[in-house]
Amino acid sequence: MNKELAKQIQEIAGVNPRKCMKCGKCTATCPAFDVMEYHPHQFVDMVEKGKVEELMNSKGIWTCLSCMACIERCPRSVEPARVIEAVRVAVARQQGMDHLKPEQIPALLDEELPQQAITSAFRKYRK
């Protein structure tokens, strides 16, 4: 339990996990469900309960595609993808090292790829 860190993550995410009513629509929507050990609604719940260290150590946070379907569908504006992204940022801040340099990213990036997906890719590949 790390309440302080959980609070920080909430601040980064800018969402209030307490608004979650555990409907599971995010998880129902998630295309990466099968490759995540924690699912979007669990992310929210764990951050709310302060179980952030487990979350930060999980592989699941890097398997999220940042497709933002859960943001789109969440009826309570909890927006799990933001929470996940915030956890990633928290991890990144702790490690502080980049494994992947921007110039290493080839020109094969799709122009229509959302900004957040690109950022998310940076985070993933520096693991």
Partner: protein, 663 residues
């Protein structure tokens, strides 16, 4: 100089926990004019009220200040208390130290200081209060019910039963409302039509009830006891007095492709139509949007087949003016449009339906004559997925409603159960967030659906529905087993949230009745006056006030009727004595006040006055009809000379409050 008594209430710990009530009473005792000051645990209790009455006698009080909860709560109570002790009730002022002080402040010193200031303002006002006596105005003994659904019908029947005239205005060609479209009712599963249609007939046959069908309220003027309402009778191009409802025209009309709103557009009707067999009044109506005759002037078949000669293509909208003493709003609800929730593919597949559409698909009078068939290919569905909370309980996503629509859990249980009962070969899944079944026999009903009928209730939501190869691929979560589920369904039924009817908002403006942010009418008090609007003489019946099921609606409808009867039983109403009053000596006769008065309460007359040096002057001066004036005060500001003032909220009283607060 007034002799003022100050009474500081603890409200148990509601006030006393944050406000030092002793200190407030002590400090206010030192104010000029205060001859008695005390505090007590519950001023509104019997003992508290007796304490006030005793002080009025002992200290010969001429004014009373009560520091307590909001005047909206107990001003009336304390006025009565003081009146019983011989003090004019308008010599009482309330300092709101609960809602506007103890409940919002945490620091005791700050809250106490503020309570003292609020007390001082009330004292300053009481110093300038004058005894007021209320006048009376007569009550028109006739009620108007707006909306002819089950709520409106029940209210009208109850009022008529008590012997008063009542009119129903219904915008559709028939009364009956949403309940006419419902197949069975929960938790008893009796047929909706069987219990509703007799009531519709009762209403039609009751000589005290007049039904304005296919009509709308055009304008409302006046005030409690004396409403003046203009009703627009929309042209239906059929003479109501002649039409026998034989239905010949509706079978001969060549325009066959009009979407039938009664079946939610799932089948068609003719351009001239009677909504359904049991419609009341059973009179045909021509749909001007589709009628060839009205559009092109060529056809006229219905006119030819009508034996009664009731067809009148020249008919125009008609405005009817009526007087009422009370108005009941029973405008009901509508399911929201689910188009914003396209993850459920409502617009992509006809097999995704709303619950109300499903209701029609199960109904014997529905488009499939009661056989459940998939709309797309008219085949028997085997796997059905019900999705709960579509658009309900959404917060901040801009798509849905923040509230729980209340009825969906129960009707979905009903649908699932009926489905399994009629078609035991079906698999029925219900995806829910919570199952909410408070109500008599409600939870038992839901459990039966699970236990006896084998409906699969899954805690989780549907993420998306994709139509594929004639199936609906449903992707959902099962939170309890932490799994993502994929179901190939034949039909998906969406429990769409309900919202107030669109006509409610403009109506509220006409009635000056307040609404909440969701467009539900606000009640005068959420607990103690649930069927009255804060606007006097306006009553609320049914789902226009908030989501309700049928028994609740009927209960509230009868409650509203009871309140209306309480009003109509009076010959006269006591008026609010806080009305505008001009000082004739200062009035310029300029008509500024008259121009802004929303009630037409101000008139002018030429009056003789004594001028200087024994002369006589004739001056045009304003006078206010106290029975018509509602005391808004618009005139007091429009008046440049300050001749117009408002009793109970006079310029000097308000300025004294300002002074007390700012000092």
């Amino acid at each position: 100089m007034q002799r003022i008594g100050v009474f500081v209430c603890w409200c148990g710990s509601n006030i006393a926990a944050t406000v030092d009530v002793h200190k407030v009473a002590e400090t206010l005792a030192k104010e000029p004019g205060v001859v008695f000051s005390t505090n007590y645990q519950y001023m509104c209790s019997q003992a508290g009220q007796e304490m006030i009455q005793e002080a009025i006698h002992t200290h010969k009080l001429t004014g009373v200040v009560i520091c307590s909860c909001s005047p909206r709560m107990h001003e009336g109570t304390f006025r009565k208390t003081c009146a019983a002790a011989g003090l004019n009730p308008y010599m009482v002022e309330i300092a709101n130290i609960r809602e506007q002080c103890s409940w919002i402040h945490k620091d005791m010193a700050e809250a106490t200081e503020k309570a003292v200031i609020l007390g001082r303002a009330a004292i300053a006002k009481v110093h300038l209060n004058a005894p007021l006596t209320a006048g009376t105005s007569p009550v028109t003994k006739r009620a108007l019910v707006i909306g002819g659904g089950i709520a409106g019908i029940q209210t009208a029947l109850d009022i008529a039963d008590a012997g008063y005239e009542v009119d129903i205005v219904e915008k559709k060609p028939t009364i009956g409302g949403k309940m006419t479209q419902i197949d069975k009712t929960f938790p008893t599963l009796d047929c909706a039509a069987c219990i509703l249609t007799p009531k519709m007939v009762d209403a039609a046959q009751n000589e005290k009830i007049h039904i304005y069908s296919y009509s709308e309220v055009e304008s409302v003027k006046g005030f409690v006891g004396n409403f003046h309402v203009t009703i627009r009778k929309k042209a239906r191009f059929v003479d109501e007095t002649k039409c026998t409802g034989c239905g010949d025209c509706t079978t001969k009309c060549p325009q066959k492709n009009v979407p039938n709103e009664f079946n939610l557009g799932m089948d068609n009707r003719r351009a001239i139509y009677i909504p359904f067999a049991q419609a009341v009044p059973k009179i045909a109506t021509i749909d001007a949007d589709y009628c060839t005759m009205l559009k092109t002037g060529k056809c006229g078949i219905c006119s030819k087949v009508c034996a009664a000669g009731a067809i009148d293509y020249q008919q125009k909208d008609q405005l009817v003016e009526e007087e009422y003493g009370a108005i009941v709003v029973a405008t009901g609800f509508d399911p929201i449009s689910v188009e914003k929730f396209d993850e459920y593919a409502y617009s992509q597949s006809p097999d995704v339906v709303t619950s109300l559409e499903f209701e029609r698909l199960m109904n014997a009078a529905g488009p499939t004559n009661g056989t459940l068939l998939r709309p797309s290919d008219k085949t028997h569905p085997h796997t059905l997925v019900f999705v709960q909370c579509v658009g309900s309980r959404c917060d901040g996503d801009g798509r849905g409603k923040s509230y729980c629509s209340k009825i969906c859990c129960m009707y979905t249980a009903k649908h699932a159960m009926l489905c399994r009962e009629k078609y035991p070969d079906t698999d029925v899944y219900v995806f829910y967030i919570d199952v909410r079944t408070p109500g008599k026999n409600f939870d038992e009903f839901y459990r039966r659906a699970v236990e006896e009928y084998g409906v699969h209730y899954i805690k989780g939501q549907v993420g998306k529905v994709v139509p594929e190869n004639g199936k609906l691929k449903v992707q959902a979560s099962d939170l309890l087993s932490n799994e993502q589920i994929h179901i190939d369904a034949d039909m998906v039924i969406l429990a769409a949230a309900i919202e107030p009817d669109k006509s409610a908002r403009p109506l509220a403006t006409m009635l000056t009745a307040s609404m909440d942010t969701n467009d539900f009418f606000t009640e005068a008090h959420p607990k103690l006056r649930p069927v009255e609007s804060p606007t006097a003489g306006i009553f609320l019946s049914g789902a226009c006030q908030g989501p309700k099921d049928i028994p609740e609606t009927v209960a509230q409808a009868s409650a509203a009727a009871a309140k209306v009867l309480g009003l109509l039983a009076k010959d006269n109403l006591t008026c609010n004595p806080c009305v505008a009053q001009p000082d004739e000596m200062m009035c310029n006769g300029c008509s500024s006040c008259e121009k802004v008065c929303p009630y037409g309460a101000i008139t002018y007359s030429d009056k003789e006055f004594r001028g200087p040096n024994r002369t006589t002057l004739i001056r045009r001066v304003a006078s206010v009809n106290p029975a018509v004036c509602q005391g808004c005060g618009a005139c007091t500001v429009a008046c440049p000379s300050g001749a117009m003032d408002l009793k109970g909220f006079s310029n000097k009283q308000i300025m004294a409050e300002v002074d007390a607060i700012c000092k």
